[in-house]
């Protein structure tokens, strides 16, 4: 509260405070009276916990709901054989996922009423919390050789998921505050590199390379939009290359990844010690290929009968391809693309830079995961654990994702976009 009370009464002297209060000129639907309203009153009004002043973006909401529904249907189809053989209950996964989806959608709608500006205050604390989780998880027993999960009995979550959101939020927060000084090293580069460095370091300790990659990509994109000069990206690219070269040449840190690269280049290898590594990819490719143009039909996948390991998780889209064919897969990819496009458009027309950066970050995070996930299952890039938003099984992950979509919807409420 202290932060808010400090900012609230004196919004004007601070540069970054202003946009909250100002009305952006091109917004057409704003009633004329709004312009005439005194600033102080407007500000107070806007800082209500739930803002229903304008509607949320129906196309975006629609896209989210459609993807959630398709995701649930496909999750059921993909998981029931695995669930039957491993849990003796075909509905094992779907029941849980539906429950979380319902919870998530409710949460999303609630959050869409929540004024996202409040999130400024949570940016730093949330980042610290996420760091705490990232440290704690390293001391928890490993699951399948990696420290990625914090299990709370009833449900568990991956600190990396929290970290993604925390980083996005924090970057949006910092960039929107310092956007004028983004071309300086002190304000535009160093703090972000520092935050990013800590996060990535912690993630690699787990290890969870794919999450690190996503966060780096996300951060890079946000800094790019935020106005960091291109030369810094050139420098970062050089450093990255050198780092990769060092890791490949002088350490065995990523030795487990080496086999993956070999497996990636030839998924049908008959070399015995790689069979286990290539099995999942091979089965995924069989599934995708079996789908052909029109697919085998909903529920007709054969690869889900224990050929494709854990078809409800990262490789669910392979089953989607097998059952719905290229046409079905293409439609879903297009739905995702539309979601990204709409999310970015909403954000671009957000009232302020915080909303814009936050919205774009959250949207691109979904887009990145989609692209990387499908790239993995099609063996376009080496196999690494990236789940498919709205489709892959994981209750807390889905709830978190829908909550983030809720933030985007919240941004859309004040966005100067046609909302149908």
């Amino acid at each position: 509260m202290s932060g808010e009370s400090r900012r609230n009464p004196v919004p004007k002297p601070r540069q970054q405070r202003k946009p909250y209060a100002e009305k952006s000129a091109p917004e057409p639907k704003q009633p004329a009276s709004a312009k005439a309203t005194p600033l102080t009153k407007r500000v107070r009004k806007k800082f209500r916990v739930f803002s229903v002043r304008s509607g949320l973006d129906m196309p975006f909401l629609f896209l989210v709901l459609v993807l959630v529904v398709i995701g649930l249907v496909m999750l059921f189809s993909a998981s029931y054989a695995y669930a039957y053989y491993n849990y003796g209950n075909s509905y094992y996964f779907i029941i849980r996922q539906v429950a979380f989806a319902v919870l998530g959608v409710i949460l999303m709608l609630l959050i869409s009423y929540f004024d996202y500006h409040h999130l400024h205050r949570f940016a730093i604390p949330l980042l610290l919390v996420s760091y705490a989780f990232l440290v704690i998880v390293l001391f928890l027993p490993a699951v399948k050789g990696v420290h990625r999960w914090i299990n709370l009995g009833l449900f568990g979550f991956q600190p990396s998921e929290i970290a993604k959101f925390a980083m996005t939020l924090c970057f949006a927060h910092l960039i929107s505050i310092n956007f004028k000084r983004m071309d300086t090293a002190r304000y535009g580069v160093l703090p972000y590199v520092l935050l990013l460095g800590v996060t990535v370091l912690l993630l690699i300790r787990e290890p969870h390379v794919s999450a690190a990659v996503i966060i780096i990509a996300l951060a890079g994109m946000m800094l790019f939009i935020g106005g960091v000069p291109l030369r810094w990206f050139g420098a970062a690219f050089g450093v990255a290359l050198a780092g990769i070269a060092y890791l490949v040449l002088f350490t065995s840190e990523f030795s487990y990844a080496n086999d993956r690269v070999v497996a990636w280049l030839d998924p049908f290898t008959t070399e015995k010690n790689l069979l286990a590594d290539t099995w999942q990819t091979r089965q995924s490719l069989y599934a995708i290929g079996s789908g052909g143009l029109l697919g085998l039909g909903l529920g007709q996948s054969r690869q889900k009968y224990l050929y494709l390991p854990e078809p409800q998780n990262d490789f669910i889209f392979a089953i989607v391809c097998e059952e719905l064919g290229f046409i079905g897969a293409l439609i879903i990819v297009i739905l995702f693309a539309l979601l990204v496009w709409r999310g970015v458009t909403i954000s671009l027309k957000a009232k302020d830079k915080f909303g814009m950066l936050l919205g774009i970050g959250l949207t691109l995070q979904v887009g990145l995961q989609v692209v990387l996930n499908i790239a993995v299952i099609t063996n376009t890039i080496p196999n690494t654990g990236i789940s498919l938003p709205f489709f892959s099984y994981g209750g807390t992950s889905l709830v978190l994702l829908l909550a983030q979509m809720g933030v985007v919807l919240s941004i859309s409420r004040t966005s100067a976009i046609e909302k149908t």
Binding site: F224, L285, L348, T380
Partner: protein, 752 residues
């Protein structure tokens, strides 16, 4: 200053969005097109390949039955134990499975442990495991909660319930149930049937997927064979052939063939020196097995050791192949004097000789300057054709051959089927070796006339003999009479196949009569059976070719006897054949004759052939002992007197408490029936004396002295110089007085 998005942010964002859409989504759509539309079909094929499990459903091999549907070869369900080591993930699982299976299967635990470490989904651990063992494994799986890892696959195993019985005809099968020898090989296709297929959609752990993807092609079980072989006939052939092999110390195996002369159906075919088809690789002959086993092992480390090892392996293979060889069909021999019945038939058919044609034998015949001796060096003197055959006189048949000439001789030679394979349905039939009409110069013709100098199989010989017996009709021998499908329907029925009529029925009848005389009082009388009208001819073949080749130090012989019965309506022909007898005699009459007689004596009544006695035979016939037990002594004596039987009374009672021989038992005419009239006498015993090596008179008096009766068999009744060579109850055995002992007689004449 814009509150919201600046121009640069707009630009950068739109640039980023464009790149993201094109590179990111573009790449994944490109990948999807490539995988689903371009490579889709081949990927789908590979997917289907792993999803569809093609299981072979084995077909049950058909059974082999004798003519009375007694099973001689059968298939039973067994199991193949297959490990799926790829499903085993922990050492604990491997340990449990290795420990359990080693106990159940009696295998080495370490060996199984090795199997469990392989990275395979199909690793055969043990084949042909019985159903009880399979059940044990299933129980073990259930107890230890082993889901995947052990699979049991149905298979069939061949059983030959009578062991080595008829092994040569039946043959045997290999590990995959394929016929390798005998009928199993010859009729392999029919017996095997067609394996079925089960194509199902399987999940990755190999259980069924809930799919309509199941296609089943039922296995077509193999056809069964019904043989012409009669288990009883076969039994007698094997029993007495074995006995003959032992008694005559036969070195190179023996065979006996019994054939229905009218149909060519082979009722029995025995080869001794055979094997147990259940364990065909084991060398059955104990001396041979010991010889091979005692050969040095050798080892493969040194050159020398390798050679020794190889020699042993080779010896084993030779011994195995020798015991599998069907001597009756695959080996050829000079038929010797047995062939004289064929030459004689030719001569009579062509009219160059008849029963009364006169010949003269001075002990040798000179043909184109070559002297060919008769077996009787002094010569037989003047004799008729009939006497010539009964004497087995070589010069007589040299003369008959000469009278026929090469052309006509060869015409009949071929007509009797001796230039072609018989076409019997057994594998490995050998072809004969002979001179054609053009090649037959006088000396060859002369030697062929009495059965030397050309090689035929025993089966060819008996087939020709059957033609002589059967009105001149040459039939094709066969072993299988019917082929049945798995439901018992007749698929194929083998009819009698008459190839041609070689000689007239008249000549056939006359020759049969001559051969009957030969088997009654001639050189073949060792095969004589009272009342059964046996016709026969002996043969002693010199193994000249082997002798000349220098492989043998001394001349070796094949002793054979070929005949048929009853002579007035021939039904069954029988050829008995001993290769290289090393006993007291090597002559056909002495070695093969008695065996022929014993076989016929059992087979003919079994086949329902009635005895018809001549008056002369009637006089010497045994009678059935009347029932006098319980009668007063006087009445008993009167009853025995009526049948001109003598009696001997033991004990002081006046009622017969016990009689020996018992009522109904056969007793020789003028035999003595012992009557016991009190309890004390009942326990009285006498000792069986030696009855071997005696004339009939000597044997009779020895028996009378000991207080026992004898019946005689063999040449005793017709031969003047017959000697006993066997007795049915051993010397020194304690028996009740009056017990009947059968004594076999044989005439050791030196007939070739």
């Amino acid at each position: 200053m814009a509150k919201g998005t600046t121009i640069r942010m707009w630009r950068r964002t739109l640039f980023l969005l464009a790149v993201f859409m094109v590179v990111g989504f573009g790449a994944i759509i490109f990948s999807l097109i490539k995988l689903q539309l371009v490579e889709g079909e081949s990927l789908q094929e590979r997917a289907v390949e792993q999803q569809m499990k093609d299981t072979t459903i084995p077909a049950m091999r058909g059974a082999i039955y004798d003519r009375n549907m007694r099973p001689l070869a059968q298939s039973a369900t067994v199991w193949t134990v297959v490990l799926e080591p790829a499903y085993l993930t922990t050492d604990e699982q491997r340990e449990t499975i290795a420990a359990g299976l080693s106990q159940i299967l009696g295998m080495d635990k370490k060996e199984i442990l090795e199997h469990t470490k392989k990275k395979s989904y199909y690793d055969v651990l043990k084949r042909k495991v019985e159903t009880e063992v399979k059940d044990e494994i299933l129980k073990f799986k259930e107890e230890k909660k082993i889901g995947n890892g052990i699979r049991l696959i149905e298979d069939y195993k061949r059983y030959y319930p009578f062991g080595s019985f008829a092994a040569t005809i039946l043959g045997f099968t290999g590990t995959d149930n394929q016929g390798l020898s005998g009928l199993e090989a010859y009729y392999d296709k029919q017996l095997t049937g067609t394996a079925g297929r089960l194509v199902t959609a399987k999940n990755a752990i190999g259980t069924d997927m809930p799919f309509q993807y199941e296609q089943k092609v039922e296995a077509q079980d193999g056809y069964s064979l019904v043989l012409t072989i009669d288990e009883i006939v076969q039994h007698f052939l094997e029993k007495y052939l074995e006995e003959g092999v032992v008694n005559n110390k036969v070195k190179n195996r023996a065979t006996a063939i019994a054939m229905d002369v009218k149909t060519g159906a082979i009722l029995g075919l025995a080869v001794k020196g055979d094997f147990d088809p259940n364990f065909p690789l084991i060398i059955s002959d104990p001396t041979e097995a010991a010889r091979v086993a005692n050969m040095p092992e050798g080892d493969s480390t040194t050159e020398e050791g390798k050679k020794i090892k190889q020699a042993k392996t080779q010896a084993k293979i030779v011994a195995q192949q020798a015991q599998w060889r069907n001597k009756a069909v695959s080996d050829t021999y000079y038929p010797g004097s047995v062939f004289k019945m064929v030459t004689g038939s030719m001569g009579m058919e062509e009219g160059v000789v008849n029963e009364n044609t006169q010949f003269f034998c001075n002990g040798a015949a000179v043909v184109s300057g070559t002297t060919i001796r008769c077996w009787k060096h002094g010569g037989h003197g003047g004799e008729t054709f009939v006497q010539g055959l009964m004497n087995s006189c070589n010069p007589v048949f040299i003369k008959v051959g000469e009278m026929l000439g090469a052309e006509r001789f060869f015409k009949y030679f071929a007509a009797f089927g001796l230039t072609e394979k018989t076409g019997v349905d057994l594998p490995g039939e050998a072809g004969s070796l002979y001179y054609t009409a053009n090649q037959l110069n006088p000396v060859e013709l002369a030697t062929e006339s009495f059965g030397q100098n050309f090689s035929i199989t025993p089966l060819q010989m008996i087939t020709a003999a059957a033609a002589v017996a059967n009105g001149g009709y040459l039939v094709q021998p066969h072993v299988v009479s019917q082929v049945l499908d798995s439901d018992g329907n007749i698929v194929q029925s083998v009819d009698t196949k008459v190839k041609r009529q070689v000689i007239s029925e008249d000549v056939s009848r006359r020759m049969s009569k001559i051969l009957q005389m030969n088997a009654t009082t001639g050189t073949a009388k060792n095969g004589y059976l009272p009342g059964y009208r046996v016709a026969g001819k002996t043969g002693t073949s010199e193994k000249v070719a082997e002798y000349n080749a220098g492989g043998k130090k001394k001349m070796e012989y094949i002793a054979s006897y070929c005949g048929f019965a009853p002579a007035d309506d021939p039904q069954i022909a029988l050829l008995v054949f001993f290769d290289e007898p090393q006993g007291d005699s090597y002559y056909g009459g002495a070695v093969a004759g008695p065996v022929f007689g014993k076989m016929m004596e059992e087979i003919l009544p079994y086949l329902g052939v009635e005895r018809k006695y001549t008056d002369a035979e009637m006089e010497k016939l045994d009678v059935a002992t009347p029932d006098v037990t319980g009668k007063k002594l006087d009445a008993a004596k009167a009853a025995l007197q009526k049948l001109s039987l003598k009696q001997k009374v033991y004990g002081g009672g006046d009622t017969v408490l016990k009689q020996i021989p018992e009522s109904g038992k056969s007793i020789p005419q003028n035999g003595t029936v012992v009557l016991m009239t009190d309890a004390e006498s009942e326990s009285r015993q006498v000792t069986v004396p030696n009855l071997v090596g005696m004339t009939l008179t000597q044997a009779n008096s020895a028996a009378a002295e000991a207080g026992i009766n004898i019946t005689v068999s063999g040449a005793a009744l017709t031969g003047g110089k017959a000697q006993s060579h066997s007795q049915s109850i051993a010397v020194g055995t304690k028996v009740s007085p009056g017990t009947v002992v059968n004594v076999g007689f044989i005439e050791f004449d030196q007939v070739q």
